[in-house]
Assembly symmetry: none
Homo-oligomer: 249 residues x 2
Amino acid sequence: MLKKERQAYILHQVNLHNKVLSATLCNDIDVSEDTIRRDLQELSDEGKLIKVHGGALSHSFNDVHFDSGGVYSQTHKKTIAAKAISMIHNGMFILTSGGTTIIELARFLPPQLKATFISGSIPVILEYMKHPNIEVIIIGDRLSKNSKITVGPEAISKIRQVKADICFLGINSIDMSHGVTDNDWEVVQLKKAMIESSQHVIGMAITEKVNTFQPIQVCEINKIDTLITELPPDDPMLKPYIDIGIKVL
Amino acid sequence: MLKKERQAYILHQVNLHNKVLSATLCNDIDVSEDTIRRDLQELSDEGKLIKVHGGALSHSFNDVHFDSGGVYSQTHKKTIAAKAISMIHNGMFILTSGGTTIIELARFLPPQLKATFISGSIPVILEYMKHPNIEVIIIGDRLSKNSKITVGPEAISKIRQVKADICFLGINSIDMSHGVTDNDWEVVQLKKAMIESSQHVIGMAITEKVNTFQPIQVCEINKIDTLITELPPDDPMLKPYIDIGIKVL
DNA sequence: AATGTTCCTGCACAAAAACGCAAAAAGCCG
DNA sequence: CGGCTTTTTGCGTTTTTGTGCAGGAACATT
């Protein structure tokens, strides 16, 4: 069998089944595994497929690209994400809500981290999918098209079954008297459940959102254990929060 | 034998078998390998064939034709999606598996359609999200990084709780004796549950996948109510399926 | 940490291609 | 016909290409 012929066969198989094992291939065609590996290497160099340990993947199925769009205040959110990541350790169970801040968090998780992330937010899950080591648990239920997160009683009951080590909450509004507030009733229900199911609650907010409030309350201010903003912890704006015992990063 | 005559013969052979070995040729015609090689070189320069180490290939054989977007056999898959859409009506509950064929289906749902789609496949859900009117229910559980679909007992039990009107199944392999088969154990478990929970099971497969099989069985052939391929229903390849009572579109 | 896979590197060997050269064949023309 | 050029072909030698094998590194899984 000619080399090109063989490579065409391999490509065909990959495109047909989205993945292919080198062991299977060297069995199908009658050549050594080295040859298969070299073929996969070449095809991979040509960008026809993605070579992985033990075989290859189709290129088309693999890269799901989604418009994250221009993220508002992205540099601030990256600062926040970096601080948040310092609180994550191997083996943790971590609940995360939705929101662009959480997406940034998901995007910058260190590659060697091994932990379990639980979420119902599709954009966040997309970022988790790119990570090589973390385990991802998806909360199922009805998909809310606005917030791109699963909402409903089923989702809430699933969250209640979890006892997470920490919970990262993207915060839309927070102030001393109203606590954490938001404007989507269904999302608020979810966040409430997440807070109840976590030993440690971490709020993440850019300072534009600090000291503002919205119609629906997520929780009292004292439910938040740690607050992360893009400012240094000694900024006067954050002092009231520190004074009532919230840890500020 | 004249040169022109010889080259015509070579071309004929290439077009007939899609490939040709220079060793075979110099045996058939009685000339040295150098001559054959020179002929192949000339024909290759004229673009009549593709010269490779050890012989030559027909041009059609070599180039795997991708359509726009990089999805393999996309036009076929669009044909299939169009046929599948004709089976969907307002108000239906619809279970869908994963796979590129289903993604095409999701992408081309008519905008005015109002129905409920249930799925655990992230790429498919992304397409559903863009639709203005449909309701989307997400099956939760552990996310399998390979197949980008939620798998596990929780997902299966959720599917069991559903009684869907129809189920669209992306099929990896189907043949008369092995039924529907696949190569990922966890995905197979899901598909089994989907079949049990649906009143009408529709298999979607490009014909390259018809009459092939893989290690793990999803279901017997008779569990499939309707089979959709890119071919017209009267194609002889599909006759055996019609004969055992499967509706073919 | 321990184990079995899979991967990469360098090597050897065989098959095929490229190159140069010369002989043979064909064409051209007086 | 004979002499000339041009084309085509075959043969040896050198290079390149394709393939398999062994040993150690990297990887995944327990």
